[in-house]
């Protein structure tokens, strides 16, 4: 069984939002609903200045707080690590939205709770998540963390010291790793 994860290279994002719109199309989302988002950061003073973007989405935690607070089991973690929301079991209580430390969950135009699911239907049919393939700078690497031959496992092995997870102190165990800027 695969264990899916993602690497996001913070040094490469130029803030174009192609990932957002690619994801919206892949997942049939309304224009106001997005599973991934960017945080812009500026530092320094003119002319010694830099800026960048931090791309964020569901971190597919190993110990997902959204799953433990869900009263119906609609939010669940699959055996391949992907955290999903089963729409028919969701009663719309929004506990999961409050519990997610990454603000990764949204209420869609349809009224259901939803979030990034690593485009799992696409992945299961042999594809790669839409946010990965669309990106002109190659910000994201997706794959099986447990397969030593996968691009992601090799990248992690090579760059271990330059990687971080978001809000590591919460010990949620994200499956999304960031290459530090």
């Amino acid at each position: 069984m695969a264990r899916y994860g993602m690497v996001i290279d913070e040094t490469k994002c130029v803030g174009c939002h192609a990932c957002r719109v690619a994801c919206q199309n892949q997942n049939n989302l309304h224009e106001n609903d997005a599973f991934n988002f960017l945080v812009e950061k500026e530092s320094g003073t003119f002319p010694n200045f830099s800026r960048g973007f931090l791309p964020a989405q569901c971190q597919h935690c190993d110990k997902p707080p959204c799953v433990s607070v869900c009263p119906t089991g609609a939010s669940r973690k699959r055996s391949d690590g992907v955290v999903i929301v089963k729409e028919k079991d969701c009663i719309g209580c929004k506990y999961c939205i409050a519990a997610c430390p990454y603000n990764a969950r949204i209420i869609t135009k349809n009224g259901s709770v939803d979030k990034c699911r690593f485009c799992i239907e696409l992945v299961e049919s042999g594809g790669t998540p839409a946010c990965v393939t669309t990106c002109m700078t190659g910000v994201r690497i997706f794959g099986d963390l447990d397969d030593p031959a996968s691009d992601i496992a090799q990248f992690i092995a090579k760059n271990r010291r330059n990687l971080r997870v978001l809000k590591g102190e919460l010990r949620t165990g994200p499956a999304v790793f960031y290459r530090k800027a």
Partner: protein
């Protein structure tokens, strides 16, 4: 239009996505129309509705990637603002008419105008499309010289600078470069996917990227070094870099000796421009100029200064032509012309002719009224592009009487909208070919609804040049939702009604086959794959350039004979902000990755990004903002001597203090574009009608504004 087609187009996203989870998917190769790059895509369709697009990994231009516009613009197929049939303006209001009626009435009016004013009173202007050769053919069939592109507001200074130096516009071999310097161009914002991919590849191999830009652009995010230059003074930096290359003998001596003319003249004149001189003008320390020049020269010939696009010297300043010349010469000194990792002449598919199978149109017997290519007027101007922002002036003078505007919106994208409106309104006949009622279409006498790019087969395209030429094709992915026709079909229909049908006696397939003939390429094969490689692969070096001397013209006798300096000379910008006035700024503009010209602001998927991330703001340097008591998010009033407007401010350290920066693509004033209407401003609202005295370009950054908190 069938009822089924209409219902497939208009039933909601929610209902559709519920019923289509397991529906079969068809995948059609075609090209994007979200900007001018025309990236190669695969479009997926479920239940007769467009679902998504993916990039063609083999395409030179996008190499598998898709930008946000590529994903977002496809939704415009279902935009409720689309025109559903031809329209005729009657007493100030549009009435639907049949195609036949529209064509007949247009032809009658054109014939009357021809009788009174001759063929030169008729023009066609478009933002280039794969079918542009047929639009030119239509004008030539009618003996009119007046085919225009948007070029004079975009790139004609850059093109002229390169043409007069190396004979044509080259490309950048970014992926193989060891040192990339980019002056003003921002491929990560004014998106060029292939270029960004090339930069990333080069950097992964250890290349250095330096971005020279008054603004910390999106490309600067990828850079090793951001060097903010005082806007309008890039030429001083370039002259000083050439000075250092010459003084320190950092140039490629073999290349200069064997492949250039005029180096000695350059040596004599460039001593006037040491880095210490440039520092005072362009705000870049002399030591930085010297260091960067040594660094780039160390990597020659696998080092380049980007050939540029709109930004910095496409059509921006009085000195843009000289800046483009200086960039071409600096590259030549690096010995990188048509070299791996340098500036190279990309392979581009040269399409076959329609003759002898079809007669050659007579062509014009007089020159263009805008004066392009005419000594004493705009001798360095591009005859092929024309000076399209002169159209309103020529209409006001009664020279142009009748115009066709296709895939273009000059009322919003040309400088000085009041003047542009007055000019286009003066026309006796204005026909707009557009899928929506843009600003320009809104004042037309007739509007012919063009099919959306996903609804129509089109002319074969050669946009994907590169190390090997590629041809691509726009294909119909879904049936037209409304009573619309392809651009190609409209051109052919117009020709037939205007009495020049004998030059258009071919089907689209026949024309495409004739165009593909020189490559031995098969149309069926192209349609199945969406993209074919043609011709021979690129090879390094050159025997003879397309210049009068056959060499790189460091000194140009052609320019000298026309009365211009043979060697680039420092020329100050036309206008500069008043340093004693805290309110005075140069107004710069540039693209954001989510918008193209004035055509995407009406797309909710793209405009929602603008709103959600508060992108419709004017950038201002923090220190300057503080002096004016302006805080992040404050509303300000912007005024030039031709216009005024209000907008909120983004206060940043990432901008040169002498300018403010306005994102382009906003300021839509057509009320028929309901998503875009009345959000933000356009730089054109402030920019007077200007013509650079040699090239005739718009000098789009030669504008000073006064900014006040409101």
């Amino acid at each position: 239009m069938t009822a089924a087609a209409l219902s497939a187009g208009t039933f909601g996203l929610k209902a559709w996505s519920k019923t289509t989870a397991s529906a079969p998917v068809t995948r059609v190769p075609t090209i994007c129309n979200g900007c001018g790059n025309r990236c190669a895509l695969f479009v997926s369709v479920k239940n007769k509705r467009i679902w998504k697009v993916e990039g063609n990994p083999d395409a030179n231009g996008n190499q598998g990637a898709v930008c946000p516009k590529g994903h977002g613009y496809l939704h415009d197929l279902y935009n409720p603002n689309r025109i559903r049939s031809p329209l005729k303006r009657v007493n100030g209001k549009f009435e639907p008419v049949t195609w036949e009626q529209a064509y007949k009435e247009i032809a009658q009016k054109v014939n009357l105008i021809l009788l009174d004013n001759g063929p030169e009173s008729i023009f066609w202007v478009n933002y280039p499309q794969p079918n542009q050769a047929y639009a030119l053919r239509l004008m030539h069939s009618m003996s009119s010289p007046h085919y225009f592109t948007h070029g004079s507001t975009c790139y004609t200074a850059r093109n002229a600078g390169w043409n007069f130096t190396v004979g044509k516009l080259p490309s950048n071999d970014l992926a193989n470069s060891r040192f990339i310097m980019i002056v003003g161009r921002n491929p990560a914002g004014g998106i060029d996917l292939g270029e960004v991919k090339g930069i990333v590849k080069a950097k992964e191999k250890g290349a250095k990227l330096v971005v020279i830009d008054p603004r910390h652009s999106e490309t600067a995010i990828l850079a090793d070094e951001w060097v903010p230059v005082k806007p309008g003074t890039d030429l001083a930096l370039l002259l000083a870099m050439i000075n250092v290359m010459v003084e320190e003998k950092l140039y490629d001596r073999n290349f200069v000796a064997n492949s250039t003319v005029g180096f000695q003249q350059l040596e004599d004149e460039i001593i006037n421009y040491p880095p210490q001189w440039a520092e005072k003008i362009c705000d870049i320390p002399a030591q930085t100029i010297i260091r960067l020049t040594r660094e780039i020269a160390r990597e020659k010939p696998q080092a380049l200064i980007h050939r540029g696009y709109h930004g910095a010297f496409g059509a921006q300043y009085l000195n843009s032509f000289q800046t483009a010349r200086a960039i071409a010469i600096a590259n030549a000194l690096l010995g990188n012309i048509n070299r791996k990792g340098g500036i190279y002449f990309s392979e581009s598919a040269e399409f076959g002719e329609l003759q002898p199978a079809h007669p050659v149109p007579p062509g014009p017997s007089v020159g263009k009224a805008d004066g392009t290519g005419i000594p004493g007027r705009y001798p360095l101007g591009s005859y092929g592009d024309g000076i399209s922002h002169a159209i309103p002036e020529l209409a006001l003078r009664g020279v142009l009487k009748c115009g066709f505007v296709y895939h273009h919106n000059p009322l919003r994208t040309n400088p000085n909208p009041k003047r542009v409106i007055a000019g286009y309104k003066k026309l006796e006949l204005l026909v707009a070919i557009d899928p929506v009622l843009s600003e320009t279409a809104s004042i037309a006498h007739y509007v012919l609804p063009a099919s959306f790019y996903l609804e129509a087969d089109e002319a074969v395209d050669n946009k994907h040049s590169g190390k090997r030429a590629q041809v691509t094709i726009q294909q119909k992915v879904v049936d037209p939702l409304f009573d619309t026709r392809s651009g190609f079909q409209i051109i052919v229909d117009l020709a037939k009604h205007l009495g020049v049908g004998k030059y258009f006696n071919f089907s689209l397939d026949e024309a495409n086959e004739l165009r593909l003939k020189p490559f031995g390429a098969d149309l069926k094969d192209l349609k199945a794959k969406g993209l074919l490689e043609v011709g021979l692969p690129w090879t390094e070096g050159f025997e003879k350039l397309e210049t009068p001397s056959g060499k790189v013209e460091i000194a140009s006798s052609t320019l000298e004979n026309l009365g211009y300096p043979a060697i680039p000379r420092w020329e100050a910008p036309l206008v500069s902000p008043d340093e004693k006035d805290a309110h005075s700024f140069r107004l710069l503009h540039g693209k954001q990755a989510i918008h193209t010209h004035a055509m995407t602001a009406n797309q909710p998927y793209l405009m929602q990004v603008s709103h959600r991330y508060d992108l419709i703001r004017l950038w201002m340097n923090r220190a300057r903002a503080e002096r004016l008591g302006i805080k992040n998010g404050d509303l300000v009033e912007l005024k030039s001597f031709i216009g005024e407007g209000r907008i909120r401010v983004k206060v940043t350290e990432g901008l040169h203090p002498s300018c403010v920066w306005l994102p382009s693509g906003y300021g839509i004033f057509s009320k028929r574009l309901t998503t875009a209407y009345d959000h933000g401003l356009s730089y054109n609202d402030f920019l007077p009608t200007l013509f650079d005295p040699s090239v005739g370009h718009a000098m789009a950054s030669e504008v000073i504004v006064s900014v006040r908190k409101v």
